[in-house]
Subunit: 121 residues, 2 copies
Amino acid sequence: MVQYSPTPFNASFAALADATRRGVLEQLARGDASITDLADKFDMTLTGMKKHVGVLEQAGLVTTEKVGRVRRCRIGPRRLEEEIEWIARYREVWDARFDALDRVVDELKAREESDERDNRT
Amino acid sequence: MVQYSPTPFNASFAALADATRRGVLEQLARGDASITDLADKFDMTLTGMKKHVGVLEQAGLVTTEKVGRVRRCRIGPRRLEEEIEWIARYREVWDARFDALDRVVDELKAREESDERDNRT
């Protein structure tokens, strides 16, 4: 069995897999907002927005706090650093592999050209 | 209504929201493999692995090709560039906001210190 990254960022990627939730994060990055503000801005019911905020909260991307009768939402503690790192590492492995392939192709080409020269002389 | 990113990367983030699927991508970044190879490596049934590969394929992260009786899997055309860009842009907005807050706090502190000096003299 292969060793794969055990980091529990399933929840954050799942939270990002929705355009409204990404929009809510972009909005909260600019400033805190209540669930009602967010529901208005995204033209959504309060219940619908509460669910989206719940998913973001469980992923650590948003925190909420009840202030009087209003639930304030703000950007959570997670900065998606591990997620960026994972994607970057994945692309590195991939690039390294294609660089290696390129080198093999270049070597084959060089050998072919050298053979052609040898045949001509 | 707020304008939010319409880029359709719901599928790619959803595909990344599973440790096995991230593992499969890491594995394929190192080299092509058949569904059977992948099922063995991840200690999973063929049916289970086919489903995971299907999700990755629909997200454009993997392509498959039937060669004889074997289905070969390889890394797909999508390089997750838009996903990295989205996360980076989100963090930029957030950082800018906190930098602005820091400046306000610094100004308030400076004013307070200046007031204290004025009171002492």
